[in-house]
Symmetry: C2
Subunit: 122 residues, 2 copies
DNA sequence: AGCTTGTTTCGACGTTTGTCGATGTCTTGC
DNA sequence: GCAAGACATCGACAAACGTCGAAACAAGCT
């Protein structure tokens, strides 16, 4: 909670300007496109598992070998990681033999904003 | 934030028991399946527009005729509304000539919970 | 250089998805 | 009863998606 105050709201907006909360007003076509792209990235069970594995891994990052045990072949894992990367949810960096993936905070913040509304509004 | 405390966490769990925040720990296959199903429902631009139109409509509900102007044919609108309903995001009720859709708070709360984390954790 | 391990790319396949026009169902009003 | 409007379902089609095995690429080791 306190960590929240370390980041100014305006700054968070600047990083990934997208849309107001889903309940605020009807989205324009462009807003809907952007929002849908983010949701779609997490619309597959394998990607959810990969994402949560990276996000919860110690140090905030994980190499592919750490998270490949999700029940699909290794090329498929790579394919889904690429999708998550294209959607802006993850970033990757090669260090020696391994490739490390980490969560991209800004897009995650944008998604959080989409779903940040008081229960009363829903 | 304060509005959140009006609802007990246990109660929120009871309504739509699903998963902890995405950044907390690697999801199980079942948790990932559930979470992905919810995200997938909002993974299409037309559905995002329909959903935000319903969610932001006065009175918390809207008939199909109020929100059909999203650039696709009428059967397609109906198709997407059905998908949103199957995902638990909307519910519908016929009153006379018109069918009214409204947001289902519990599933929306579950999605909010998935994305409720401090930016520091991301 | 050659081998081994980690990761991505390629090509192919079956399945799911979004879209439409046509048709069906339900309700109201004449 | 019948016509009209609101909405859902059906059937068809192209495009996108998830998956795999095979092959390519990259880095380290002997």
């Amino acid at each position: 909670m306190q960590a929240l105050s370390l980041i100014e709201p305006e700054a968070a907006d600047a990083v990934a300007p997208c849309c107001p909360p889903l309940t605020e007003r009807p989205f324009t076509a462009d807003e809907a496109e952007t929002a849908a792209r983010m949701f779609k990235a997490l619309g597959d069970p394998v990607r959810v598992r990969l994402f949560t594995a990276v996000a919860s891994h110690e140090g905030g990052e994980a190499c592919v070998c750490d998270i490949s045990d999700v029940g699909v072949s290794q090329p498929t894992v790579s394919h889904h990681l690429k999708k998550l990367k294209e959607a802006g949810l993850l970033s990757s960096e090669r260090r020696g033999t391994w490739v490390y993936y980490r969560v991209e905070p800004s897009v995650l913040a944008a998604m959080g904003k989409l779903l940040s509304f008081t229960p009363a509004a829903a």
